[in-house]
Structure formats: C-alpha cells, structure tokens
C-alpha cells in the first residue's frame, strides 16, 4: 500500500487540534450545585473554564462492575450523534450509593467511582484498587458546535446582510475563547489530495484520556496489523480507527484497516480493566506506556521510585459525544465478559462454518466449482464450503448471476449440498448504477441511497463502475435489503447458501482515502462523518435480518470485512487483503487475538495470503496456523496462481491434508467453545494473559494462543525452522506452570518458561492443558455435516492432582432449537481414577453419536481393564497404551446417558 493515500494525524485537522491539548492541558470543571443523584446514576453540569461553554455529564452504574460516562453539550446548536445499534440492548443499570464530600463517591457493588470537581476527573476502583482514571491528564477536549464566523466584510461575496453578520459574530464571540484554534486551516473545510470536505458544521471533535494505574500494558482497539500489545505512540502517529479498504496493507503499522472496535484494555498482574469508547466517527488513539527499557529502569532506580506514570490512552474522535464504558474487571476474563455483556457475542455458528472453507477470486463457472469440490473427494480431503467472489454476478449486480458462467446455480448448489457442503456467495453494498437493474431502480425511486450535501444520490466508483450506496441507517432500507435475500426474490440460491459482505467500509475507489466523503448525508440528517465506522455494521444488520427471515430455522452465517463494536453479533470477520508472505502469516495470530478480546472470536486470515503466490512451505505453515484460528478459509486474488492443495507436490498435499484432518478432529471443541462464548462472553481464542495474568513474560506473547483454557497453540510461522521457542506460562510469580501435553505424543511439559521444541514439516505445536478434557472426533469425513453421528473421543489430560474436567456441547448443528433446550451440554470430570459425566440442563437432543474411545494422559501407570457402569450394569473395557497415554477401548456409551468409568489398578 502507498501510505500517502491515507491521512496522518497532522493531515487531519481535528486530530491535530485535539492532540495539541497534550502539551497545554484543558480546564474543565463541574459546576457546583448542578449535581443530581438518581438510583443508578448521577448527573452534573460541566464547564470549560476558558470559553465558559457548558456540558452535561452523566455517570451511570451498570451491572457487572461497569460505569458509563456520557458528556454532551448542554445546549448544542444541533444534536450531536449518539451511536445506535452497537450495544446489544439497553445496558442493565445497577443501584448506586453516593457519598458527597470534597469529592463525590459513587459505589456500586465492588465498583467505585470518585469524581473530582475541579479539575474534572474521575477515578475508578475495583475492590478499592485504583484501576482507571478519566481525565487524569486533563486532556478532555470538547469542541462545541458554533456558527461559522463570516468572512470579513471586505471579502464577503455578497453584501446586504451586514447586520445579520455582525450579530453572528457577536454570538460566536460570546462562546469562543480567542485562544481556541478554530480558525486555523481545516476547521471549516479541509482538503486531502484532490478531495474537498465541506465541513458545514465546523469543528466538533471530542477527546478524553484514560489512565490505567494498575496496568503494565495496554491492548485492544482493533483493527491494526500490529502486535497484540499496543505500542507507545510517542513520536509516531496515534493508532487510527477509521474503516478503510487498504490494499496490500503494511504490517507493524498503526494505520487504520477495515474494522474499528474502540475497546481498550489495561492489564497488570493484579487487575485488568477496560474502556469502550463508543464513537463511530473517525478516531485516533494515542498510547502512553511505560516502556520498561534500561533508561526507565535506571531513572526509577535513581529516583528511588517504583512508581511511574501509568499507561494511558487518549481517544480523539471527530464528532459525536463522549460515551465511554469503564469496565473494572478485576480479571482479564471478567473484562472480556463485561464487554460482551454490552455489545454481545457471535451466536452459536452452524457447525459447517467452523470447517474448512475453500475460496478464490474467482471460481470461474459451475464446472470449476463442481470440479474443485470433486477434487477434494478424489484426494480424500475434508472441505465444507465453496465460495464465490464477485465474478459470479451478472456484471457486479448483486442478487443476480452471470447466466453464461452459471446457467444453473440451483443444480450446482444441490450438487454441493448433497455432499454435505455449502456455498457462500458475495454480496457487496455498492449498487451498480444501471437503469435496467431492479435494485438500482428501487433504490433510486425510493430514495434509498446515501445522499450528497445537495440531496442527490451519491455516486462513487467501485467494482461495477459507477455505483451508489444504500443508506442502511434507514430502517426502511434495511428492511428492503433484508427482503432481497428472501428466496422468492433471490430465487437462484437456496436457504443453505450463506453470505459474504465485503467492501463495506464502504470502499469507494475514487473517494477520499478510498471511502465515502465525510459530508455525505445519511438517514436522520447525520453526516457520514458521524457514522462512518458504523456503515458496515448497519449493512450486516440488514443481511442478518434477511437471512433470518429467509429461513427462521437456520442460524445465518455472514462474513464481513468492515466491523464495529457489536458487529460480532452478526458476522465472522477476516483480516482482509493480506499478502502471501511470512510476516502476514505471523500477523494472523496477532490480529485475531486482538479481535477476539474485542468481541470477534470468529476471526481468521486468508490462508495462503490474498495477494501473491505462496511457496509450498509458506502454504503448508499457513494451513497449519489457519487450522487453529476460528475462521479457516483459503482465499486468493484473481491474479494469483491457482493453489488448491493438489496443485502442489504430494508432500505438500499430505501436510495440508493432515492439517485439515486435525482441524476437523477438534470441531467438537471449537463448537463447544462457541456455545460457551454465546453463553458467557468468554472468547474462544485467548491471549496467554487471560489465564496467566500474573506472568509478565506472557503479557505480550502473540505468536501463541489459547483455545479456551484447553489448548495452547504455537503455530510454526517462520521459514525453514527445525525448532520453535514455546513459552509455557506460569500460574504464579514463582514460575510454577500447568502441565501441558503434546497432542500428538502426549509428552508432558512440566515447567514454565521457554522450551525449544523440535518441529518437522508436519508438526503443529499444540498442547493440551493438564486438568482439561477435550472432546474430539477422529473419524474422517468429506464435510463436517457428515460427522453428525460419528462417535467422540474424549482426551483427558491430568493435572498435578490427577484431575481434569471439560465440557461438550452438541445439538443439530444448524437450527435455533438449542435455544429451546434441544441440546446436550455435558461436563466431564475425572478424579480419583474415575471419569463421570454431569449434564448441564436436561439432555434433550437425540444424538446417534457415542463415545468411541477415551484417551487419558498423565496417569503414570497402565491400568488393568477399566470398568464402565451404565444404569447399574458394569462392563470391562480393554485398556492399551498409545504413546504417552492410555486408551480405553470402546466405552460405546451414548452422549445423553450417564456413566461412570473406573480405572482399576
């Protein structure tokens, strides 16, 4: 990518202005006597002591140790935008107790907020530990709306209304401090490259700083191609959140990408806290971290102080209001759940979507699709979903097919469906401006398109050429859009065909920074500036509603590129247009870890890399990595060489096949994890710090990930290596670690710290945690759907106490019946040489599946036959050794039946 196509903070006037405050500070104070106390909140007025502009402040307590802080102008010239649809619903508030002295103390459960009046500041405590401060740096900056000062009389284009002009100037004088830099270039209009932003409402930025006194590092605010741990922005641009279509993006960069999720976490050994900055306008985030380098250690040593400035973040948004959720933890998993409680989770996906996806821009025609699918069978490799990129359409008119390349899509779809496979087709938001295209006719006639300032339909340039963009902020447009998915309208697909929403930043090839101009006008008379980062989200709402209405019995699967906080309720995401090189492979885990803690567990990267041609080794390692990320799809640019696995030498095909089989064998774990994500908000993949919060060495590790608390994955992501360094995290500050069992050999790691692990070309370094039970399915099928009735293998890895536990969820893998209890949710526990099960809720799903074997690692001895007891009837089972574990042969117990399995000595 050419970075000069995108703005720097310096080139963005609101960022420049807001950042300036970092040197001078600001002067906001609560106005005495304006405090109002309610059962769950307090309100007060706030004043900018320099220009005397007044604001309202509301601090609300929410259940789950969370506060919501809102600041808006008391009497804005026009309403300021408040984000809608990002929260999963109205947050549940919590009762507060208020104590008024010099300060104002608001307590709700173990959460406490202490408000200071002048200068305005709030400190948040979790169980009396100070975890977050708002405005501790005095960087609150709120540009109130104002009238545009008229040009001096001499330069005025038209005379005759001098009196009015004078009056306006007086008005603005009254509220403006002369020191406010609102007349500098870029405040009332702004140019970037050849693009002009009219900025009719002038400056309206909001900015606020958040400090994390209990934290040692910060993470979050995806989407950036950067490390999991946020880096200091001192001397660089801030991290930018502005949904953009970035071609061949740069890694190790703070540049904006396709998605924007303004949630940020501060983590230290004792406490984790977070802030969700709910703002959909362009946002920049400055990061202040105490870089623990030699110099700072020296400074601390000399000064005799271990106390240094806590890490902090400075959020700067172009418009809207301050709407911040302060989540107080205390543990990492608590904060993730607090965030999930606000913005929701992905619902349980259909099982097939956790299988392997085969995509390419493009599979050219029906024969191509059919033969690629057939090749997977020929080579006996599992594959669940074929994808069609934009070329399947009739000239990039979505909801239509190219009748020559795809004369009989329904037959083609049936051929896939009959093998248990699925089809996903792309539907982008740009609409071809073709008067003969029904969709364009409807949108034109009904005024469904996003408008220019002048009220005309905005016209941009995208895949179809001249295109317009439906205004998904309008509920009527969303309804219309949703209805297009109905099979009576989109007749050339079936209810099993799922959807890929791409280019929804929105991408506009000829627009400023390849997106829509900020002065476009949306439903409700909001400027695009106010809502930009939500456009993709609103698009997804329409698609999700459409798929649910099309078939209320099927859980929709949608893949999106653009995303905002809350989009995880509707779609999976992938990391966009990456490249076939090792650094992009390495960034797939970094980026998905950050996405996962920001709500998007259902994340993956294009396997093989979108641009360029991977060599065999890179492709092999990418498949191995992709097999352990939640969304597992190979995809490639139209100009790349074909790279289906059989086009590579036999050796490569075997390596890929074994990675695919490994993925499929773990589907029961992935599926259970997603069920538990929906139930609890706990991410499916997690950074090490989630479960090892005390181990500072683990904080920044982003080339390893945990699948729940059961697997530790450290994919090989370097070229030509024969060993990798793997970090086994410590559970305490004494370097004690969990037991970890290599899932291929059951060889056990007992010590915390780095271990050098030999890897051959087939090795995916994965360990199962001692203390966990993982359900697997070890039989091979051509697609996950055909595994429905296949038996399970339970893999039990024992901890130091000889114990283990783990859950399994199963249902029909497709419908919403699980929400009516039509499922089996079971917890297995192993202790005292005995395995027992405990159903969570009554098992109400009738499954043909059964337990075919139980593998137990860490036992230390090979027991004589095991005894299984079902309904009071006991039976002996053979036990044999396999590598470092024992295998109990064929318990053959159905999944909804209680049993006890006793190992005899």
């Amino acid at each position: 990518v050419d970075p000069t196509n995108f703005k720097t903070c310096e080139q963005s006037s609101f960022c420049r202005r807001s950042r300036k405050v970092q040197s001078s500070g600001s002067k906001y104070a609560l106005i005495r006597g304006t405090l109002n106390t309610y059962t769950d909140s307090v309100t007060a007025d706030l004043i900018n002591k320099e220009n005397h502009h007044q604001f309202t402040m509301k601090l609300e307590a929410l259940v789950g140790s969370t506060f919501r802080l809102q600041i808006d102008e008391k009497q804005p010239l026009r309403p300021r935008y408040r984000v809608e649809h990002a929260l999963k619903g109205k947050p549940e508030t919590a009762q507060i107790r208020v104590l008024e002295s010099d300060e104002l103390t608001i307590t709700s459960g173990s959460a406490k907020a202490v408000i200071q009046g002048d200068p305005f500041r709030i400190d948040f405590y979790e169980n009396d530990v100070h975890v977050v401060s708002v405005n501790a740096k005095n960087w609150l900056y709120f540009e109130h709306l104002r009238q545009k000062a008229q040009a001096p009389a001499g330069e005025a284009a038209d005379g005759g209304d001098g009196a009015q002009q004078e009056q306006q100037e007086q008005n603005s004088d009254a509220v403006q401090s002369p020191s406010e830099p609102i007349d500098e270039p870029g405040t009332w209009e702004e140019n970037f490259k050849s693009h002009h932003d009219t900025k009719p409402y002038g400056p309206q930025a909001v900015a606020l700083d958040f400090s994390f006194p209990a934290a040692e590092m910060l993470f979050g605010i995806p989407e950036h191609a950067d490390s999991f741990a946020l880096k200091s922005t001192s001397g660089t641009d801030p991290y930018r959140l502005y949904n953009l279509d970035v071609f061949e993006y740069i890694v190790d960069s703070k540049m904006a990408l396709y998605g924007s999720v303004p949630v940020l976490y501060g983590h230290g050994p004792q406490r984790t806290a977070g802030v969700y900055w709910q703002n959909a306008a362009e946002t920049w985030v400055d990061i202040y971290t105490t870089e623990t380098n030699v110099v700072s250690s020296l400074v601390n040593f000399v000064s005799g102080s271990r106390k240094s400035t806590p890490p902090a973040a400075h959020f700067i948004s172009e418009s809207g209001i301050v709407d911040a959720f302060i989540m107080l933890g205390p543990k990492p998993i608590d904060v993730f759940k607090q965030y999930a409680a606000l913005t929701g989770t992905h619902e349980l996906p259909q099982l097939f979507s956790l299988g392997y996806h085969q995509s390419r821009w493009n599979y050219n025609d029906e024969r191509d699709v059919t033969s690629v699918s057939a090749k997977f069978d020929e080579y006996n490799m599992p594959m669940d979903t074929m994808w069609l990129d934009i070329e399947y359409t009739d000239g990039k008119r979505y909801f239509t097919w190219d009748k020559f390349k795809f004369p009989e899509p329904l037959t083609m779809i049936k051929n896939l469906t009959e093998l248990g496979r699925h089809l996903v087709v792309i539907i982008d938001p740009h609409i071809k401006r073709d008067n003969a295209y029904f969709f364009h006719q409807d949108c034109t006639e009904n005024g469904y398109y996003v408008k220019t300032r002048e009220g005309n339909d905005y016209e941009g340039w995208c895949w179809p050429g001249s295109a317009s963009y439906p205004d998904f902020f309008n509920p009527v447009v969303r309804d219309y859009y949703a209805s297009q998915y109905h099979l009576s309208k989109f007749k050339t697909v079936t209810e099993d065909v799922m959807i890929w929403n791409d280019m929804n930043e929105p991408s506009v090839f000829n627009g400023p920074e390849i997106t829509a101009p900020k002065d476009l006008v949306h439903y409700g008379n909001w400027e695009h500036r106010d809502v930009h980062n939500l456009y993709g989200h609103m698009h997804l709402m329409g698609t999700f509603a459409g798929l649910q209405q099309r078939d209320p019995n099927q859980r929709p699967f949608i893949l999106s590129r653009a995303h905002f906080a809350g989009s995880q309720r509707y779609s999976a995401i992938w990391t966009g247009d990456n490249m076939a090189d090792w650094t992009h492979l390495q960034h797939s885990t970094k980026m998905c870890l950050t996405e996962a803690v920001a709500g998007f567990s259902f994340c993956g990267a294009d396997v093989g890399g979108f641009f360029g041609n991977p060599d065999a080794e890179l492709l092999e390692r990418w498949y191995q990595t992709g097999a352990f990320l939640p969304f597992f799809r190979a995809h490639a640019h139209i100009d790349t060489k074909r790279r289906e696995p059989w086009l590579f030498p036999e050796r490569t095909r075997q390596i890929i096949k074994s990675a695919l089989l490994k993925r499929y064998s773990y589907l029961p774990l992935w599926y259970t994890s997603f069920y538990e994500l929906e139930q609890t908000g706990e991410p499916v993949i997690r950074p090490l710090l989630t479960h090892y919060p005390l181990d500072k060495e683990a904080f920044a590790i982003d080339n390893q990930l945990l699948v729940q608390q059961r697997l530790l994955v450290r994919p090989v992501m370097q070229q030509g290596v024969s060993k990798v360094d793997v970090y086994f995290p410590a559970i305490d500050d004494k370097k004690n670690g969990d037991y970890w069992y290599d899932v291929d050999t059951y060889q056990r790691q007992e010590r915390a710290g780095y271990e050098s692990i030999p890897v051959d070309e087939n090795k995916i370094p994965v360990w199962q945690r001692g203390g966990s039970i993982v359900p697997r399915k070890e039989r091979q099928r051509r697609s996950s759907k055909l595994m429905l009735n296949d038996p399970y293998t339970l893999v039990i890895c024992l901890d130091r106490q000889g114990k283990a536990a783990g859950t399994l969820f199963l249902d029909d893998e497709k419908s919403y019946a699980y929400r009516d209890g039509k499922h089996i949710y079971v917890s297995y526990e192993f202790a005292d040489n005995q395995l027992t099960n405990r159903f969570i809720g009554k098992p109400q799903y009738k499954s043909e599946a059964w337990i075919e074997r139980i593998i137990i690692a860490g036992l230390g001895h090979v027991p004589t036959p095991a005894t299984i007891t079902v309904n009071g009837i006991s039976q002996q089972l053979e036990v044999e050794q396999r590598n470092g574990a024992i295998v109990v042969r064929k318990p053959a117990v159905k999944m909804d039946v209680d049993f006890a399995l006793k190992l005899n000595n």
């Binding site: 599992p382 248990g420 039989r779 091979q780």
Partner: protein, 527 residues
C-alpha cells in the same frame, strides 16, 4: 456362490479374513492379534485399518464395493456410512439410508458408453490411419527430399570450386584487357575526350559491370548471371527472380556488351548506387570518370521523376516484412510517399547515356568474365536455396508428430472456437491465439512447445508457451487437452488461471482403437 467374508472385503481378499482356530485374527500388517469378533466392530484396532474394512472406524481402511453388474471399486473409509450412497450397489451405507442399487443401469449405460466409444475410436481410427499414411508419406518425402538435397549440395559445392576457378581466370584476362583499353582511351585528344567523356564514362562503368556480371565469360550477361546480384532484388524478398533479372535485360534472356551498355546498365545503375547508399541520378555532364560520390542536387532536380506507384508498393511491402505489425508502418510509409526525392531509387529513370565502346577483343573478355562471375554466383545461390530448404525440413523433423506421424498433417492447419467474447485459434505445432470478437488486436497465447501428457497418454496434451506477456504477470501459455472424435475441432476454451489457457480439442488423430480396446479389456478383466 458367495464366499462368506466380512463387509467391505473383496472376493480376492476373502481368504485373509478367516478366524484362526482360537477365534483370533491377525491384522494384515501383523501388528496385532485381536478376537475375530472385533473385525468390523466399528472400532479401529489395527494400525493399518485392516480390521475395519466395512466401517468408517479406521482412517486408512478401504471399503470394497462389489457393484455386481457394474465396476467394483475401493472407496476410502471416510465415505462409509456417511449417509451418502457412493457404491452403486449401496453397500457402503446401512439399509436405513435406502440406497438404491443402480449398478445394473449404470453397468448397462457404461457398456453402451464403452461401445459408443469403441465405435468412435474404431471409426476415428480409420481416419487416423489415413492421417498416419499421409504423415508417414510426408516423413518419407521429407527424408527423400533431404537426401536429394544432400546429394545436390555436394554436387553444387564441387561445382562452386570449379566455377570459382573459371571466374578467377576470366577476371584476370578481363582486367588485363580493360586496363589496356583504358590506356588507349587516355591517349585520345582532350576535345574528343570531352565530347565523349560522358557517354564514355557510362560505357566504362557499364563495361566494368558487364565484365563482372558475365561470370562465365561467354561475352553475354545472362538472366542467371544477374540473379546472383542481390542489389537487383527489386521486391526485396531475398531472391532475384528470373522475372526481376529479365527486367534488367529488357526482357531478353541474355545480352551482349553493347546492348547491356545501352539497355541494361541504365536500369541497373540506380540500384547499384542505392546499394552503395549514395544514390545519385545519372547526369549528363560528367566531369570525372569515377562513380559519383555525393548526391548532386541539381542533377536530382533535373532527372528525378516522381516514383511510380509500383515502386511505392515495393517499398511498403519490404517494410511490412521487416516489421511485424504493419498498421502503423503502413501509415508511416503513406506519409512519406510524397516526399520521395533525392536519395530515393528510381529504377525506371530514363537515360540517353551511350555505352562505352570497347574494342571487340576486350569486349569479348569482359563478357567472358561476366559469364564466369554469373556462373559462380548462380552456384552459390543454389547452395543457399538448398540450405534453406534443408533447414525447413530439419525443423519439421524436430517436431514430434506422434509415434506414427499421425499429427503431421495438422501442422499448417488452424482451428477456431468462438465464445461470448473471443475467437480462439489453435494452429497445431505452431501457435495459439485469442482475438476479441468485437475487434481489437490478436493476442498470442503461446507458441508450440511440447507434448505433456503423462506416461502412456503423452499424446493427449500439448503445451504452448512464450505467449504475449500479461500486464503485471507472466507470459501467456496454453494447454491443449485432446480427445478422439471424427472431425477436428475445439470444443471449449477456458482460463482457469490468469493467463493460462486450457483448450479442449478433438481430432481423429487421437482415436487409437487398439489402445482403447486394450484399456477396455483390462477393465473387463478386473470385472
């Protein structure tokens, strides 16, 4: 009758699935001994999967579909009991799935298909036989021609030595005589000299040329003697044809010196000068005897007529051969046409210059030298011609026209296929190309490279490479997949990879009845 054997085991392997006396059974890889009751008990005991031929329990196992009435197949265990009927006899699924037994129908349909294919191959093979005979004939012809040419080239080489000797002899005599004649001329008085200088000069030049052309020294310049002078290749096609040579000889077969000086030299001289890169039209008042060294503007103005249309065409033609894409060049030449002037050849320029008058003896020696030169050049030319033909034959011999030369007749043919956007062309053994239907330039997709079929089916696939480079990408290439049919035609063209094309092509050359029968037989034997 049916030999009892576990589900999924072929008849051939039935004997391997017999319990031992103690009711035990050993995995086929010998890795383990298990109770025979654990064979097909839906649990994988053997590392090689041999204990579960009839279930999906072992990843490595194979299930044998007997498919009575059709073809038996081995399918991987992943397809067993997955709810999808893979064997036509339905044996891979439990009865509950309700797979229909379609083997009889499929077997019958397959038999019909095989018959039709056999028939097609048989009938196609007849055509192929013709192609083979023609191909073999062509090969034989080439071989015959090749040895004929070999003989002739030898012949000509010795002739060349001989002619070179004759030429040297004649030229020695000629030089002597001409020197003597020149000496005589210099003795003439100045006035006479001045009066006659110009025609005399023309005559001297013409005579010298005459002597040079008359390589056989017979006192005549013959058509063949002119044909060796490439300067006279008016259409610049690399060969001075008889017609071209005759033009210079005023449409006669040969000419003596006098006729040469008056009729031939005026036509030849401008081309000589052109070849020297110094065209200067002949001029009346010649001041020196030497050939003019620089263009004389005045003379050009006086004597340079407008070029004929024929000449303009000639030039365009020549340019067209040098450059591949003619369009632009043609314009260029059209533009330049009106500017023809100084420096342009005008072979048809009129001249009244008289030939120098040699004494008869000198004249005779010049003629003899010319003849000798001509004879030598003629031999050299013939050798070049033969070598050119040999090269062509060797190129064809270098191409692989199949084991029986059945593809040879297709070299030189072209086939086309139209889809919505393009017309695709295949000229076997030469090139493949693509041309937009709505006009636009033709793009070369590849030039003949080699056969790339695997093993026995080597001649089922061709590859063409080194096509036009793609923007920001590789050079285009094409693969031709070939099937048997009665008539040659392209049935489909696709571009599965950017810039990599794939043709489906049919031709009787691919109809090999024996091979087809053999493969059908081996399939039948398996049954």
């Amino acid at each position: 009758g049916e030999v009892p054997r576990p589900r999924g085991v072929s008849l051939a392997k039935a004997a391997l699935y017999q319990p031992q006396a103690d009711g035990k059974w050993s995995c086929l890889d010998g890795s383990k001994t298990i109770p025979f009751t654990q064979v097909n008990d839906d649990y994988c005991d053997c590392a090689d999967g041999s204990d579960e031929p009839g279930t999906s329990a072992c990843p490595l196992a194979q299930f044998h579909c007997t498919n009575k009435g059709h073809q038996p197949v081995e399918i991987p265990s992943s397809l067993v009991q997955d709810g999808i009927c893979d064997c036509c006899d339905g044996s891979d699924e439990l009865p509950a799935v309700g797979c229909a037994n379609t083997c009889i129908e499929l077997g019958a349909a397959a038999a019909i298909k095989r018959r039709n294919e056999a028939e097609l191959h048989k009938r196609g093979a007849e055509k192929r036989q013709e192609m083979i005979s023609r191909g073999k004939q062509m090969k034989a012809d080439r071989a015959a021609r090749r040895s004929e040419l070999n003989a002739r080239i030898k012949e000509q080489e010795s002739l060349k030595v001989e002619k070179e000797q004759l030429k040297q002899n004649a030229e020695a005599l000629e030089t002597e005589a001409v020197e003597a004649f020149k000496e005589q001329q210099r003795e003439l008085d100045a006035e006479t000299a001045q009066a006659e200088q110009e025609p005399q000069q023309m005559r001297v030049e013409a005579s010298l040329s005459f002597v040079r052309y008359d390589t056989n020294k017979d006192g005549f310049v013959e058509v063949t003697e002119l044909m060796v002078d490439m300067n006279l290749d008016r259409d610049r096609n690399g060969v001075v044809t008889v017609e071209e040579a005759r033009y210079f000889l005023d449409e006669r077969d040969r000419m003596d010196l006098d006729a040469f000086v008056t009729l031939a030299w005026p036509r030849i001289k401008p081309l000589k000068m052109l070849a020297d890169g110094l065209f200067q039209p002949p001029k009346a008042p010649a001041e020196e005897e030497e050939l003019p060294q620089a263009a004389d503007v005045e003379g050009a103005e006086l004597h340079n007529p407008e070029p004929s249309e024929e000449q303009a065409d000639m030039e365009t033609g020549a340019a067209g051969e040098e450059e591949d894409d003619g369009e632009d060049d043609e314009d260029q030449y059209d533009d330049e046409e009106p500017d023809v002037g100084v420096g342009e050849a005008t072979p048809e320029v009129e001249t009244t210059t008289a030939a120098p008058a040699y004494d008869p003896e000198t004249q005779r020696l010049i003629e003899q030298a010319n003849e000798a030169r001509n004879a030598y050049e003629e031999v050299a030319r013939q050798i070049r011609e033969i070598e050119h033909e040999v090269k062509e034959i060797d190129e064809q011999e270098g191409k692989d026209y199949g084991p029986h030369e059945e593809w040879a007749v297709m070299d030189g043919e072209c086939y086309t296929y139209e889809d919505r956007e393009y017309v695709y062309t295949l000229c076997p053994f030469d090139r493949v190309s693509q041309k937009p239907r709505n006009g636009g330039a033709e793009t070369t997709l590849g030039r003949w490279d080699q056969w790339i079929g695997e093993g026995a089916s080597k001649y089922s696939r061709q590859k063409y490479t080194q096509g036009a480079a793609c923007w920001n990408g590789p050079q285009r290439s094409a693969i031709i997949n070939i099937k048997c049919a009665m008539e040659p035609r392209i049935t489909a063209v696709s571009e599965p990879n950017r810039c990599e094309y794939y043709y489906e092509f049919e031709t009787p050359a691919a109809c090999d009845s024996d091979a087809y029968t053999a493969s059908a037989q081996s399939m039948h034997d398996e049954l």
